[in-house]
């Protein structure tokens, strides 16, 4: 009996039955191993805090496993990209989270809710014109990347989703790519989050390159920041949510989530603040990165023309950052040298990373300078303008 069984199975068949990956062509095995190594590298860079650890550690380990685990007839055992087929929920263990959190953009809204709870809107209310002028300049990449992406062969929907990486807002990139180009949402979101994690590496140098040293030293007195009471912030948040929802229904889920977070912070319901900050933001960030990692397999990456998206993504971010610096210089002259131009790059809306980078550069050139509170204004205005552009793109191209 045993002899007959051995006769039927040779060693190759045995290997293929145990290790599904062995059934694949050699070039695909090499590609999968390479992607798994890239996943391990991202994890290591997250651990070393070169890249954002909250994103890169779960994403990296997800990539390692998803590219090595292959079951014949099933493929990736963790999650399947197709969320329209509900039977996948009974096969893949991460599929229920993926179906209910990614298919409708819920995950992006939950992250926005958590960001809202962390955000102070004082400067946005105190200096709305400056904040929005800077934010408009800092959308340069979001606008200019669109025709470049079309020239590289993407259709308008895909080009718009890629261009939104220039808005530097992870949840908006995810949300709009799901609405505009669901077939490309994994590579676009992956590239978006990768570059957003790398902002610390290049934004600082870019600020120093684009803004003259004399301007970088501009001192801003924190005492000039007017006091805005929680009641005013609360009333403002309600009114602005109503108006923006009316004007931009396509982006209203994001706008509502963000300002609901702001309102919860301002009314100081400590239970909700703890829930949003400790549980919802942490859980949704973890699930977003983890599921994105497990979806980043070689078939998805190859299909997604990832190299072009990598080039366009960095181009969009650099253009937005340069636009922000130009806006900062314009505002510096308009204010007769009273406003530090570093508020411009802070309008590239990665909350609160770009504002923190502007603070870091300002402290480097003038250790007494504390511009973070001022920088949060353009930073939040940047979130709103990016949501507006996303809404325009979704309305125009879908």
């Amino acid at each position: 009996m045993m002899v007959e069984l051995y006769a039927q199975l040779n060693i190759c068949d045995l290997l293929i039955k145990i290790f599904g990956i062995a059934s694949l062509p050699p070039n695909e095995i090499i590609a999968r191993l390479t992607l798994a190594l890239i996943g391990a590298l991202l994890l290591y860079l997250g651990y070393k805090k070169v890249l954002e650890p909250l994103i890169m550690i779960p994403m990296g380990i997800g990539m390692v496993s998803a590219n090595l685990a292959f079951i014949i007839g099933v493929g990736n055992p963790h999650v399947n990209m197709d969320f329209t087929n509900l039977s996948n929920n009974f096969i893949y263990w991460l599929q229920p989270f993926y179906t209910f959190m990614f298919s409708n953009g819920l995950i992006a809204c939950l992250v926005f809710l958590g960001i809202g709870v962390m955000t102070d809107i004082t400067f946005l209310m105190a200096r709305p014109y400056i904040s929005f002028i800077l934010a408009s300049f800092a959308e340069l990449g979001t606008i200019l990347t669109l025709p470049i992406a079309v020239a590289l062969g993407f259709n308008l929907r895909q080009a718009a989703a890629i261009a939104l990486i220039g808005g530097a807002d992870g949840p908006i990139v995810l949300y709009s790519s799901l609405k505009l180009a669901p077939e490309l949402f994994i590579p676009i979101t992956l590239v978006g989050y990768l570059y957003l994690s790398m902002l610390y590496l290049f934004q600082e140098k870019l600020d120093e390159l684009t803004i003259p040293k004399k301007m970088l030293m501009t001192y801003m007195d924190i005492k000039e920041l007017p006091k805005i009471s929680p009641k005013e912030k609360l009333a403002f948040s309600v009114i602005i949510t109503a108006i923006l929802s009316l004007l931009f229904p396509q982006a209203s889920p994001l706008i509502l989530s963000f300002f609901a977070g702001v309102i919860i912070k301002e009314v100081s319901i400590s239970r909700y603040v703890k829930l949003m900050d400790d549980v919802i933001l942490s859980l949704s960030t973890f699930l977003l990165a983890f599921i994105l990692g497990t979806l980043t397999t070689i078939e998805v990456i190859l299909k997604g023309e990832v190299l072009k998206i990598l080039v366009l993504g960095i181009l969009a971010l650099i253009l937005s950052s340069i636009g922000g610096s130009i806006g900062g210089i314009v505002v510096y002259y308009l204010s007769k040298g009273r406003i530090n131009p570093l508020l411009g790059p802070a309008a590239v809306s990665c909350v609160p990373t770009t504002a923190k980078i502007s603070q870091k550069v300002a402290s480097k050139y003038n250790p007494r300078n504390y511009i973070l509170a001022f920088a949060m204004g353009p930073n939040i205005a940047g979130v709103i303008t990016t949501a507006i552009i996303a809404s325009i793109y979704i309305a125009l191209f879908t």
Partner: protein, 34 residues
Amino acid sequence: MFVLILIIYVVLIVVSVVVATIIDIVRRVLRWLK
């Protein structure tokens, strides 16, 4: 394509100014009510 991105940018700037104006009016009204 150039006209399209120009229109989108102009719309963005106009909307930004409108939103900033609304924020300013809301703030002034709230101050006045106080």
